[in-house]
Amino acid sequence: MSEGQEDKRIPIFVDGEEVKVNPGTNLIEAVAQAGKEVPHYCYHPKLSVVGNCRMCLVEMGMPGRDRATGEPMLEEDGSPKIMWVPKPVIACATNAAPGMHVKTESPVVKECREGVMEFLLVNHPLDCPICDQAGECRLQEFATDYGRGYSRFIEQKNVKPKRTRLGPRVMLDDERCILCSRCIRFCEEVAEDPVLGFIDRGSYTTLTAFPGRELANNYSLNTVDICPVGALTSTDFRFKMRVWFLKETDSVDTESSVGCNTVVGSREGKIYRITPRRNDHVNDTWMPDSGRTLYKQVEAENRLTGYSIDGKPCAPDEAMSLAASLLKGHRVAIVGSGRLSVEEQYLLRLARETLGGGAPTFLVGRTGEGDGKLLSADRNPNTRGALLSGLVDTLPKEDLHDLAHLIADGAVDTLLVAGEDLTEAGVTREQLKRVQIVYMGTHHNDTSSVAKVEIPLLAVFEKSGTFVNQQFRVQKFAQAVPGPKGVLFGLSNFTRLLDALGGTARIAPSPANVWTAMSRDVPEFADLRFEDIPRTGTVVDDARFAELPFVEGPGLHFEPKRAEAAADA
C-alpha cells in the first residue's frame, strides 16, 4: 500500500491469528490469505457463489457488544468476548467483517467435513483406478483428510449413466458427479451458452444437456478443468495418461493475440494435454478449446525435422553457410512471422541489419472473427512483438501482394522466409520459382518445397521465449519437450545464421542473452531482463504504437484503445 492511500483492508482473525483482507472478501479467500485452506467443491473464485456442496462449513463469531450500552463485552481477562454463531456457516457465502473470528480447525468443523464427505461418498463409485481425475481429484484429496476409510452404506449404490456424450469434446460420467453445479454456472456466466442443467430430485439428480442441445461451444473443455471430480472428462485426454506422470510446463496459447496462459502436460517428450493457467489479468482460469489441440502440430506428418539443400539432407553448418552466401550481396526480402517469439523476431531484425538494413520486411497478418472473450481477431500471437523488436513498423496485411510485385519487377531475387507459407498469402509458386528461397519453418509446405535451403525451426513447446499479447503484456513460455532429433536447440538457428552472415554481435542462443542485447535496442525493454518477467507477464509501454489500427475488439480483461477498432469489431 503506497503512501497517502488509505488502507481499506479490514482485520479478521483466523483461528486466533490476525489477517487483513479487502472488504467483500469471502471467508474461503480470507482464510487462504492466512495460509490455510477451507475445503470446498462448488465454490470457484471466478464463478458466482451457490453454496450447495456444504463442504466449506466453518465456525464464525463477532466480538460482542452490550445491547444496552453499546460497550464491547469483555472476558474476565480483558479480551473481547466473541459471540459465536451457534451453527457453522458456509465460508464461501460469508463475507469478512471487521473483527470477525473464524475457526477452521475446531472439532465441530472437522465433524461437519466428515459428515459431508460421508454423504458425498455414499453414491460415489469406486472408480479411482480407471478415473482420469485420480491424482488431481478434490474428492480423493478430502476423502483422505476427512473420510472414514470404510463405508457404512450397505444398500445398493445409485446407478446412473456412465458414458453420456455432452458434446463433441466432453464426456459425462453421471455416477461420479457430486452436483456442485460449477459446470452449469460456467456455461451460463462465462461461456454465455447455457446448455447444462440438473434433472430429477434428491439422490437421483442428474446432470444433463437440455433436450436437443449439446455442450459444443469453444469453451466447453473448461468445464472439465473446473469439475472437482472425474465426472466431466475430455474425449481427447480420456484414458490417455495418468496425471501424476505429467510434467507441467508454463506456456502461452498461440492461437490468437490474447495469449491465454497455459500449462503443458508432457511425459518423456510427448505432450498429452494443455490446460489453462490462472492469470487474473489475461484469461482468469479459462482458455478456448481450440488452443488445447495445438500440441498435435508437434508430431504432425509434415513436420520439418532436418536441414536440407535442394531437398537433400545436409549438416546444419552447410545449410547455414549456403544460406548466408545466398543472402549476402543479393536483393533480399525478408518474410517474418507473427508466430515467432520476440527473440526470434529480434534476431531476424539483426540479420536484416547485417545485410545492410535495406531489405523490405513483411509479416503475414491473420485475422478471424473475435469472440469477445479469449479469442481475438488477430490470430497471430505475437504481432506486437514484431513491432516492439523492430522487425516491422506497420501492421501486417493478410496478403503479400506487395512482395509478389517486387518479385515480378525483379527488385527481389532472394527470399528469407521464417515460419510462413507464402503460397497461402497470395504469392504463386511460379513467382517463388523465380527467386532463391531460404526457408526456416516448423513444417513442410508449398514454400519449403521450392526452397533452396530448408532450416527446421522449433515449435513453441520446444523452446523458451516470450510473446507480447494484445495488452502489450510480455509473457514468457518455457520449453516443455525436446525438439526433433538433429534440430539445433533454442535460438541457435537464428544466432548461427547471424554468425554466418558475419554479424558483429555474437549472441549466445538463449532468450536471456538475446534480451540483454534487446534491452539496449528497444526502448520499451530498457529496464527489463528476461529473468525478471513474472509468470503472469509484465505490461510494457505502447505509446509508440498508439496510432496503429489494431484489429482486436473488446475481450475478457481487454478494451481496445482506439474507439474505431472497437466499432469495427
Binding site: P125, C128, P129, I130, Q156, R238, F239, R242, W244
Partner: protein, 180 residues
C-alpha cells in the same frame, strides 16, 4: 605382557587308539547314507515354492476369464527400477466388459530391470498382478526378456477372486435405478 600357560591333559588310552572317534564319525556317515537326500536333481526335479514367494511378476485373469488389469498405472508409478510400461486404452463400447471402460493396450515388464520387490503386487488396486512361483528366467536377447501382455497373461493364468467387483457393478447396472 603376561603369559598364561595352558595346561594340556595327557590323552587317555582310548583316545590314543583313535577308534572311538572313527566309529562315531562313521555313525554319522552311515546315518546320512540311508536317509532320504535333501538336494534336488535340478532341473529334472523342482523345489516346492512356499506361499508368499516373490517370483516373476505376472498378470492374472479372474475365473470368468476377464483380464483384471484396468491400466491404472500405479505399478508403473511405484516400480523402483522403472521396469513396467503400460499403454492404456479404452474398452470399446460394444465389448462384453465395456462397463470396466479401461484396459491395457500393451503391458510390458522388462525382466532385465525387475528386482522382484513385489511393490507392484502390493499397490495393485484390482489384484491383477502377482509375483508367482516362477524363479528362472532365461533368454537369448534383450527383446525376449521384455515380457509383453500375452506372455504375462500366459504366465499368470487364472486366480480365484473374492470380490467380483466389476460383476457386481454390472448386475447393479442391469438391475437399474429404482427411480426410472
Amino acid at each position: 605382557m603376561a603369559t598364561k600357560v595352558v595346561e594340556r591333559k595327557p590323552l587317555s588310552l582310548a583316545e590314543r587308539t583313535y577308534l572311538p572317534q572313527i566309529v562315531s564319525g562313521l555313525r554319522v556317515t552311515m546315518k546320512n547314507m540311508f536317509k532320504p537326500p535333501v538336494t534336488l536333481e535340478y532341473p529334472d526335479e523342482r523345489p516346492d515354492i512356499p506361499p508368499g514367494y516373490r517370483g516373476v511378476p505376472t498378470l492374472v485373469k479372474d475365473p470368468n476369464g476377464r483380464e483384471k488389469c484396468v491400466s491404472c498405472q500405479l505399478c508403473e508409478f511405484v516400480c523402483p527400477p522403472k521396469a513396467i510400461r503400460i499403454t492404456p486404452a479404452e474398452i470399446p463400447e460394444d465389448a462384453e466388459t465395456a462397463h470396466v471402460e479401461k484396459a491395457p493396450e500393451e503391458f510390458e515388464i522388462n525382466m532385465l530391470r525387475c528386482i522382484y520387490c513385489g511393490l507392484c503386487q502390493e499397490v495393485c488396486p484390482e489384484e491383477a498382478i502377482f509375483l508367482q512361483d516362477i524363479f528362472s528366467v532365461t533368454g537369448t536377447s534383450r527383446e525376449e526378456l521384455v515380457f509383453k501382455k500375452d506372455k504375462l497373461y500366459a504366465l499368470g493364468g487364472t486366480l480365484p477372486d473374492s470380490h467380483y467387483k466389476w460383476e457386481k457393478k454390472k448386475s447393479a447396472e442391469r438391475a437399474g435405478n429404482p427411480h426410472h
